[in-house]
């Protein structure tokens, strides 16, 4: 029951996961293509060309980093907007729970579970979706241009970075709502007393 209460309307939850997942997928796609370029450039032999290859590789990384910054900001802001909307949808449930005698900590616990589930599903949808789409795109380009098929990939470290980014952004985006909910509950406690 707690699980269902924390999720609320399944359709809304799924839509929110897809929204945030699609933004995570953008970052995952960018990372996988950069990994591909780096592995393609690094042929593994130590030669005079090594500084040239390393320099080209760091140019790509720098470009990706500059792009990931605003996309991460979009991720945080989108999770904030989704937090506001989900606040509208769940606030009545939370109020009813409070009037039914649930402690304030339990309501916060429900919100935390919701955020954890939202982060987990967005992260999973994001990196799996981003990787699959970039691999499909490269396969399509390889077929269209009759060039060798280079496979974009994500390293375990990339997946960990994406997890930190997704969980961090979603919790940061919802922090205002989380604090606001706490103050509403306090006010309600005063009124009920």
């Amino acid at each position: 029951m707690m699980f269902k209460l924390s999720i609320g309307k399944g359709e809304e939850f799924l839509n929110q996961s897809i929204t945030l997942g699609s933004i995570v997928a953008l970052i995952a796609g960018g990372l996988s293509v950069t990994n591909l370029s780096t592995s393609f450039l690094n042929v593994g032999t130590n030669s005079n060309y090594a500084p040239l290859v390393n320099s080209l590789s760091s140019e790509l990384t720098g470009l990706l980093f500059a792009w990931v910054l605003p996309v991460t900001f979009l991720l945080i802001f989108s999770s904030f907007i989704l937090g506001l909307r989900s606040g509208q949808l769940t606030s009545r449930t939370h109020t009813i729970l409070r009037y039914a005698g649930s402690p304030a900590g339990r309501v916060r616990q429900l919100m935390t579970i919701r955020l954890l589930l939202l982060s987990l599903t967005s992260w999973l949808f994001g990196w799996v979706g981003g990787l699959i789409v970039s691999q499909l795109a490269f396969r399509f380009v390889a077929i269209a241009t009759a060039s060798p098929y280079l496979i974009p990939f994500l390293s375990p470290l990339d997946i960990l970075v994406l997890a930190l980014m997704t969980f961090g952004s979603i919790f940061a985006g919802n922090s205002v709502l989380f604090l606001k909910t706490g103050s509403i509950i306090k006010e309600e406690e005063v009124v009920s007393l």
Partner: protein, 391 residues
Amino acid sequence: MVVMIVVSVTASTTGLLLTGASYTVAASSGSLPGTITIYSYSSKLPLTSIIPISLSMEVGRLPGVKEATPEALAPVLVDNQVLILRGMNLTAFAEIYHPLFLSGGLGNAANYTVFLGATVAMQLLLRAGSPISIIGLMSNHNVTMTVGGIFRTGTVLDDEIVSEIQTGQLMRGLGSDQASLVSATITPSSFNASSLVNLLNASGSQTGKRTGYIQNSIITSGLVGIGSYLAGNPSEAVGQVLSRAIGLSQNVLWALVAIVSICSVLSIYYSVSWMLEENSGVIQLLNSMGMARRGILLRLLLLTLMLELIATSAGYLLALLVSRALAAQLGISILFHSIMIPNSPQVFALSVGSVALLLTVSLFRSGTFNLKEGNIAKQNFDSLETFEDTM
């Protein structure tokens, strides 16, 4: 409005970085307006091209060609940093690029003298008279030279080292009869592209298969395969250079900008539905006072589209500033040249258009749902029903 600014900043930053990277790749040849660059058809970029140096003299004799000079481009290592060394006739360098010397000057040119672009000099903390150790990455030659001057041209050469052509050939591993490209300054009124086509067709194999009459503008603002050469102005032919260099068309880059906007579609949808919910009381009041649903929606659409135009314009400007600041602070470079972030009307139009489209769809989808008779009252009980279901 803030959502629209954030979406616009993200989409515009993507577009500006991709446009900047494309322009930097295309401009890395150093071609200026009013010049023609000739390099090997078989090479993806001017940097990797090898052509006979004698072509320069032949091109220089064509009608309408003021000056033709061979250039040898070589990637070199200086203080663990990869840079481009451009070997060329120093008199031609002064005439074509009009360098402004911040210190030293071409009068200091002697054997074993190089000239540094202002950006490179700042990065390496070198000044006129300093010794500089250069390693040719494609030739493995190692030489120590003297900085003859620091210049600024406002072109990609500010990120390069300029030397006499012999040094360029040595660092690139070319023979004395070879160069990377030929740069020709033309007089448009008297230049005849057909004479260049005939010359290039005659000197080499027929890989390019370009014959007959050809308009001047095709060469001065594009890139054309002629014989075993490519001729044109790579800086003006971004799409063609990109397509040859990495096999991607510019349309793919525009598609990436659109994808970023599309990934934000539900954020915009949720912000619209949040706004409608917050103002549901006013909307219901207007509706109950007799204002038609369509009228309310159209007024809302007009208002939000006006806000959208302001928000996306602000977002684009912010993206331009952020991209330029990030490029400068992070030292982002493409093909060893600092990335140039141009002001792109296409990126602006795409950003405004995609957000406006998403907003219109979201507003009608969300608004139609919210304004259905009794729907808001129904929504008020939704959470209660959810609660009761779970009990």
